[in-house]
């Protein structure tokens, strides 16, 4: 039953399946309808389900995301697409102040089956305003859940799970993953939406990553294996909640922890991972846990500088070796 599909196709099939399964599901966002979605995720759905269920919106992120909140309160299951996470800054009030808080502030009266999908990440020379990751902003909001699928299979599973959940969920995708391929088995049973996945077993060091950094980490682990270093790669799959048990169990075996993140390190997602696993596994660690993160810079347009700003496979390899060889920490 397994076939190779693009990440965007897995998302597309998930939307198709859920639109077909439940009349309360509808999709809205800029160019999701007639145009078929900026990254093809909604391709073909407008023709199949019509304009009320696949709604092209004006460029009004704050209000169309808020529209999703209102529709969810009235029993619908809206899936809002924000073209990129950078534009979601205009929708923060709807996501943070409304979606995450209304069920709570009402004393638990209202459902909030809202999904907000958007890509984040450094793509190809999109410059500073279109190259942000910003995961940490959505991690710091009690009442929100944040999933970060890194494979077509997870994209399929996690989007469907998100649509079926009655809680508000941000699905953070990645521009460069949309056109990556991977296996998809639509008949396979899904793990819980926020459970981490061990993508590669290893005994020497636990490498925690998510989204596009998982692929880089796996490639680095392959190279390190050729040098006799066995790295365990954990794909978090979710940034709120985080599957701490899977991470801690791994660190207790490997005694070393490295987090690879595409975002700037300062007050970032990696800081949370290192802090919590540091608290939980302090006496298991052989060396200080480390983060390999992006430079503390807005992403430059220049191709070489852009590439130099975010972690690379060779950067990961080098950092792991530094850690295991017990050299000086920078």
């Amino acid at each position: 039953m397994t076939e190779e599909v693009f990440y965007w196709q897995a998302l597309n099939r998930a939307l198709d399946a859920e639109l077909a399964a439940d009349d309360a599901v509808f999709v809205l966002g800029e160019d999701v309808g007639l145009y078929g979605g900026s990254y093809r995720v909604t391709e073909g759905l407008y023709a199949k389900y019509g304009e009320w269920r696949v709604r092209d919106t004006p460029i009004s992120e704050g209000s169309f995301t808020g529209l999703g909140v209102g529709a969810a309160l009235a029993g619908m299951r809206p899936v809002v697409e924000i073209m990129t996470i950078n534009f979601s800054l205009l929708a923060l009030d709807a996501i943070v102040n409304m979606a995450a808080k209304v069920p709570f502030m009402s004393g638990g009266q209202f459902p909030m089956p809202l999904v907000v999908r958007m890509p984040g990440g450094v793509a190809k020379q999109l410059a500073a305003q279109h190259s942000q990751r910003l995961e940490q902003m959505y991690m710091n909001v009690p009442g929100l859940r944040l999933a970060v699928p890194s494979t077509p299979q997870d994209a399929w599973w996690q989007l469907r799970q998100a649509i079926r959940s009655d809680e508000p969920i941000v699905l953070l995708e990645h521009e460069l993953l949309y056109f990556s391929k991977g296996p998809l088995d639509v008949t396979a049973g899904a793990p819980p939406m926020h459970r981490a996945a061990v993508r590669r077993k290893g005994a020497d060091l636990t490498l925690v990553a998510w989204s596009r950094m998982v692929d880089l980490s796996l490639r680095a682990a392959g190279r390190l294996a050729e040098q006799g270093i066995e790295v365990e790669v954990i794909d978090l799959r979710s940034l709120r909640p985080i599957d701490w048990d899977t991470c801690a169990e791994s660190v207790q075996r490997t005694h070393n922890l490295l987090v690879v993140e595409e975002d700037s390190g300062f007050a970032g997602a990696g800081a949370e991972v290192v802090a919590t696993l540091g608290e939980r596994c302090f006496f298991d660690l052989d060396a200080p846990p480390r983060r390999l993160a992006a430079e503390e810079l807005p992403i430059p347009y220049n191709r070489n500088l852009e590439a130099a700003c975010i972690p690379t496979v060779s950067g990961i390899v080098q950092t792991v070796k530094e850690m295991l060889e017990g050299g000086e920490n920078p």
Binding site: F26, W52, R53, R55, T57, P58, S60, G62, S63, F64, T65, G66, L67, G68, V69, G70, A71, A72, L73, A74, G75, M76, P78, D93, A94, N97, M98, V102, P103, F104, M105, S106, G107, G108, Q109, F110, P111, M112, P113, P142, G143, R145, S165, D166, E167, P192, M193, H194, R195, S238, P241, D243, D245
Partner: protein, 350 residues
Amino acid sequence: MDQETRLQMLHDMLLARAFEERAAEEYTKGNIGGFLHLYPGEEAVAVGVLHAAEPSDYVVSTYREHVHAMVRGMPPGVVMAELFGKRDGCSRGMGGSMHLFDRERRFMGGYAIVGETYPVAIGIGYAIAMRKLPEAVICFFGDGAVNQGTFHESLNMAALWKLPVLFVCENNHYQIGTEIHRHSAVTEVYRRACAHRIPARKADGMDVFEVHQATRMALDQIRQDTGPYLLEFETYRFRGHSMADPGTYRPKVEVQAKEKEDPVAVAIAETLPGYPTAEQIAAAGTDSITRMTDTMNAGGHLPGDTLQRIEAQVAQEVEEAVAFAQASPEPTMEDARAALDCNRGMEVLI
């Protein structure tokens, strides 16, 4: 309008005033915390609008929403308990004054970020339109909220997709301390609606019957699937923006002049037999004469001690509301976590 409705509206006006004045008192005693935005002066808007709505309509309101909630049928005790932060409050003590919710009555919340009510309302409107239901959404906002981006964003979408939303501006002329001529280039809010081809009109927000009639007409039109409508009601709040605001930026003469247009007094007077006297006509101003005469002609609607009876009833309701709030237990941390996880169900996250 039948006599029963008229008396119920009068009751709601009187309850609104008495409840809010008591809330102010309880705030000064320390029983109510946080921000407390009171409604005296503006009662005719909530009462007039919501008596024109159907139980199946939805209401989205602002942080000055105690009266909207009560007119919608929420018991005063449940509202007062929420102001007290108690477990029997409508939001179980998690929301407070600015976040009253009642799913059963389709009271979709008090929203405390200015300009949030529009997107929530169009979202509910979208759900209604998509399912082709004969329902409408009433979206309250103040004059200060019309300069938020969501106003134009949401009005555009409401008009574009013909969503059944009644936008109701409670224009009390002040965004906290900034008078409307200092915050808006166009001070007639209803005129902004034409930018989005939304029919709109302005009415006297100090006259509950005019408010009611204007709302009835607007909702009738909305139920013809013609799309949204905007009503602007000019009104006035007698108090400051919140209990933290003494309102000293407003000239005393202005407040006094507006108090003469007290909507509660107008409503009482209009239902009194033998009203108005010549002096009252003069005091009310010429453009009110036709309106008052019409009401007088309907006359004889407040016989005997009806008014005193309602006043006494309202006083007792407020006493009972405070007693209910006082007797209600404090919510626990478990209640808070249950509220946050209310939509988890059987879902296993990890």
